[in-house]
Amino acid sequence: MTDRKNSKNNVLDKDKFESIYSLYSKYLYAIGLRILKDEDYASDALQNCFLRIFENIHKIKDVDSRQTKSFVCIIMRNESINLYRKKKKMEHVTDSFDKTLYIKDENSEVEEIFARAEIKKDIQVYLKELNEEERDLIILKYLKEYSHEEIADILHISQDSVRQRLSRIRKKLAIVVMKDKEKEEA
């Protein structure tokens, strides 16, 4: 039965892929151009992006949806940034937020900070602390609710890397929350 389902999926996958292509290729190409500022690089990134989409096509349920749009956008952004680094031979400067060192690398502590946090009206306070890749990661983890394994698959990085980056993001945001609280108390 599973085999039959797989066969059926194969056919559907191709149709789905073509729908995704016609709906988002222009949009994704625009993302590549914006990040890479070069048509050749953007073309390479777009090609890689669609391969990655094909590999993860089973994760896409409704092609014409906000969910899918942000999903393919994250993949394209990721591919573009990777290509940019590769081409420019630039090393990724992970983060210079040294204060993160002062927070224990334990989820429970960070979770408590978030649990006590009050949602700010100005969400940009949090967002500005995160770079594009970090934003993509929290979208995939906390909004789309993908597992570490799935995120690693989508972004083509290791599961350890996903864990480490998420931990860093949580710590960064925890510092913002703590600072905010300190201000209020003062």
Partner: protein, 251 residues
């Protein structure tokens, strides 16, 4: 006490995740808005034609590769699932332990004993049907059997060669598959795991054949002119026998 702590931790985690989901949602809105506006501001932007065909071709190749891989996996898994040792593998099983015999049915004997009573073979050499059949099959495939009858809606889908055996797959619109595997018959003993399935013997064109049925999927095994055959499909036994009895020989 421990339960209370667990509950508390769960609540903390849920609230923490909720907070991060709220930030994630804002990040997503930001991202989409940014790219939407960029797209709006560049209305004439087009994906180069050459790039478009490159991507679609790559996707096509990727898709074909996936299908081939899937077919291979299907065949292998299918054979494993039914626990039938392929008719084409020349390995003698005579030394197998007898202890498991209660659960296994030895089928080689009746196949071998009936070997002299060759079933009817209808050679086909010409006609538009044969041309279509040959067109479907991989280059170099000849001297093989092909169904002259298939239940309504089934069409040729794939052909694959594993070792000496040839497998042809037919699919209908709802993606149900019928698989015909054939290969030279060696004087090896085959055993079929008989657990969890209905099984029995039937006649295929006057020769004994062995069938198993599990969850509506029937497997039929028989021999014909020193060829071993395995036919699998989600059809009833009489329909499967009809397919088996109407095999055409393609020279």
């Amino acid at each position: 006490m421990v339960q209370n702590i667990n509950e508390l931790n769960k609540a903390i985690k849920a609230r923490s995740d909720g907070f991060l989901a709220y930030i994630a949602q804002a990040a997503e809105e930001d991202m989409l808005e940014e790219f939407n506006s960029w797209e709006r501001n560049n209305p004439d932007l087009k994906v180069p034609k050459e790039l478009e065909s490159r991507i679609l071709n790559t996707a096509d190749e990727f898709h074909k590769k996936q299908k081939r891989k899937q077919l291979r996996n299907n065949c292998i898994r299918f054979l494993k699932m039914t626990a039938i040792i392929m008719l084409v593998v020349a390995i003698s099983f005579s030394g197998l332990l007898i202890s498991a015999e209660a659960f296994r049915l030895k089928i080689f004997d009746f196949i071998f004993e009936n070997n002299k009573e060759f079933t009817k073979v209808v050679p086909v050499e010409s006609g538009s049907n044969v041309l279509t059949i040959k067109k479907n099959l991989p280059e170099g495939w000849q001297g093989l059997f092909y169904p002259g009858y298939l239940p309504e809606g089934y069409l040729f889908a794939e052909a694959e060669e594993i070792g000496d055996s040839k497998t042809i797959v037919f699919k209908n619109k709802s993606q149900a598959i019928i698989i015909l595997t054939q290969g030279p018959l060696y004087e090896s003993e085959m055993r079929v795991n008989n657990e969890g399935v209905e099984s029995g013997e039937v006649l295929v064109d006057g020769s004994s054949a062995f069938w198993t049925s599990r969850k509506g999927e029937v497997t039929l095994i028989w021999n014909q002119n020193e060829y071993g055959f395995l036919l699998y499909g989600p059809e009833n036994l009489s329909e499967m026998i009809k397919i088996a009895e109407e095999l055409l020989y393609i020279k």
